[in-house]
Amino acid sequence: MSNMLDIKKITPKNITDKELFYGHKACAGCGGSLAVRLALKVLGERTYAALPAGCMSAVGFIYPQMAFKNNAIITPFPGVASMASGIEAGAKALGIEDYKTVAFAGDGGTADIGFQALSGMIDRDDNVLYICYDNEAYMNTGIQKSGLTPFGTKTTTTPAGKNLPGSITHKKNLFEIIAAHDIKYAATASIGYPQDFINKVNKAKHIKGATFIHVYASCPTGWGTPTHTSVEIAKEAVDCGLFYLAEYENGEFKLNKNPKEFASAAEYLKKQGRFKHMTEENINEVVAQRDMKWERMRRKWL
């Protein structure tokens, strides 16, 4: 099977100096742009990148200043997976060889408006790597709630006030929904663990067929965090168990990191403007949800 491929591990020592995504207008400390930049370093110049309307397309394609050195295209908001599939079909039909097609979309573009097309892409097993950079809200339009916004998040459409604690819904279980398609390879990652992320990208690069990576990517603007702590905060999300590193391959789930003890979720939350309003009760609910999820993952996946 493809997962048994002997692929060389990418490390800070052997990763290429070559950059493919630069000169864009992302906010300082943008986690999404870091995810795109790192992924493209792994995927290389012979890459077609498709990006829907969203942060990365808004900051990367401002005529005449194009920020991708490789081939890249903006797609309609709901159509990143279908356009990537079309690119793949076109390239295949024309006999083009030795390349990769990648889709980069945010959490809203993936779990909400783009989900139907993504499901179709996986169903057809089109040879596309789909990377969802998850900053937990519609950031490009000004921090509105998406299907991946966690409980208790203050956004511009889930205000926190007397009557509501911010978002009252929990984060959609995207990774497992994707896995339920029986996709060849899916993984979660975090820009806080870049080496884990890039090696998952590298693994997906070498798999023929539909693959998916859900990468946690901080957003200082939307999260109310200092710009220099973006990598740190994305790491803390994993360490406190509110995000997790896992893979799905050959019908099996695997936890890549199973900490004996979690770092404090309360501390992680309190560092961020979007969670500042949370009461002890709210935080307890978040922790209870976390523990329930981990109990289930450990029971089923280990």
Binding site: S82, M83, G90, L94
Partner: protein, 395 residues
């Protein structure tokens, strides 16, 4: 030798697509387009057509997938109708703005509500402004021939604009006719493989479908509009070359039928043309000076041609199988706008009918001609009439 076979309009389109050798087909089934995509699937399965056939999960994905394939330089085809076409709307604008020469067959069908699977023109006419070349055909042969021509027109370097071939749901899609199937080598000579600079490739990577600022946007839209005007020359040339290669000449933007000495003419779109043609012949035999102007292209719009025909006649009726609520039929609006620019004083009337698949009969057409021949409207000042209306209207 061209082979004559007895097939439906949908099948004729499928043969046109096969002969055009597209690289990628992405389509979602919808009545009455389905036979086309079923036949194309068969052709791919048996190897008659070497193309990637994508089973997309929606029309939105169909248009996105064809754009993606077109963006790497592939020849692409999709097909839809009615609700499906409307579901594509975002992508239709996107496709023309990105200058991706996708070719689409649209089986003209009414739009819900109320639900109706039957034919009228409200689907495509409501999308006139999305930047696609729109051609309407009269029969299955023209559907096949225009499918082949559509690739050549859309992909021309001065055009690079997507094109929609419209044929009436059921009346054309599901009716069987003898259709002449061109020979592959002659089609290959007429339509070489798609070549474009407007694509992503590894020799010269591109960032496509970018955003623009207020400083640039108007210029992009100006160029898009110019491309549509360029299409006028290209479609005429394409028709000429097609006639030379295959012996069938459809005229240019419009086809005039017995208009030269006519007093009254009817303007038509699509399959009703055939019925009007028969009525014109009958009335001519009775000594009545009537004629027919078949509009083939709604975009680019045949403004000059309509003005030229109007100069010859005293009265013009426009049959619209659609209605822009609160105003009039869309074909009429467009025809009238052309006439106004020429300060034409010709008598004009808009006949609305054939909605949701209702037949337009020879009798009704004769009544229209007879009204137009009187030189005045039945009801003074009432330029728009729903004909064959089965509800009482206050006198």
């Amino acid at each position: 030798m061209e082979q004559n076979i007895f097939i439906s309009g949908d099948e004729a389109v499928a043969h046109g697509v096969r002969l055009s050798r597209p690289n990628v087909i992405a389509a979602y089934p919808i009545t009455p387009q389905t036979i086309t995509v079923e036949r194309l699937s068969d052709m791919v399965e048996c190897g008659d057509l070497k193309a990637e056939y994508m089973h997309v999960e929606s029309e939105h994905s169909a248009i996105c997938a064809t754009m993606g394939a077109s963006a790497v330089g592939a020849r692409t085809f999709t097909a839809s109708s009615s609700q499906g076409l409307l579901y594509m709307t975002e992508g239709l604008h996107y496709c023309s703005g990105g200058r991706y020469p996708v070719v689409m067959m649209n089986a003209n069908r009414s739009v819900a509500l109320p639900w109706s699977i039957y034919g009228d023109h409200r689907d495509s006419l409501s999308l006139l402004d999305c930047g696609w070349i729109q051609v309407y055909v009269e029969d299955a042969q023209e559907a096949l021939d225009m499918t082949i021509q559509a690739f050549k027109i859309a992909e021309h370097k001065d055009v690079l604009t997507p094109m929609m071939v419209n044929l009436d749901g059921f009346i054309l899609t599901h009716t069987y006719e003898m259709v002449s199937i061109p020979e592959q080598d002659k089609v290959d000579a007429f339509l070489p493989p798609f070549q474009t600079e407007n694509k992503m490739c590894f020799e010269n990577p591109k960032n496509m479908a970018f955003s623009s600022q207020p400083d640039d946007n108007t210029e992009f839209k100006y160029q898009q509009n110019e491309a549509m005007f360029n299409a006028v020359k290209v479609l005429k040339q394409t028709n000429k070359e097609f006639a030379q290669s295959f012996g069938r000449d459809y005229g240019d933007m419009v086809e005039e039928y017995r208009c030269d000495d006519a007093d009254a003419i009817l303007v038509t779109l699509g399959s009703v043309t055939g019925t009007v043609r028969v009525v014109v012949d009958k009335m001519r035999a009775e000594g009545k000076k009537v004629g027919l102007l078949k509009i083939r292209y709604m975009r680019p719009f045949p403004e000059k041609e309509i003005i030229a025909t109007a100069k010859k006649v005293k009265a013009i009726g426009v049959i619209d199988k659609d209605i822009s609520f609160g105003y009039e039929g869309t074909v009429f609006t467009n025809v009238n706008s052309a006439l106004a620019k020429a300060n034409s004083t010709v008598l004009k009337k808009n006949y609305i009918g054939g909605l949701g698949g209702r037949d337009i009969t020879k009798n009704e057409i004769e009544n229209m001609f007879n009204e137009l021949l009187t030189g005045k409207l039945k009801k003074d000042g009432e330029h728009v009439e729903f004909f064959n209306l089965k509800v009482a209207i206050d006198e």
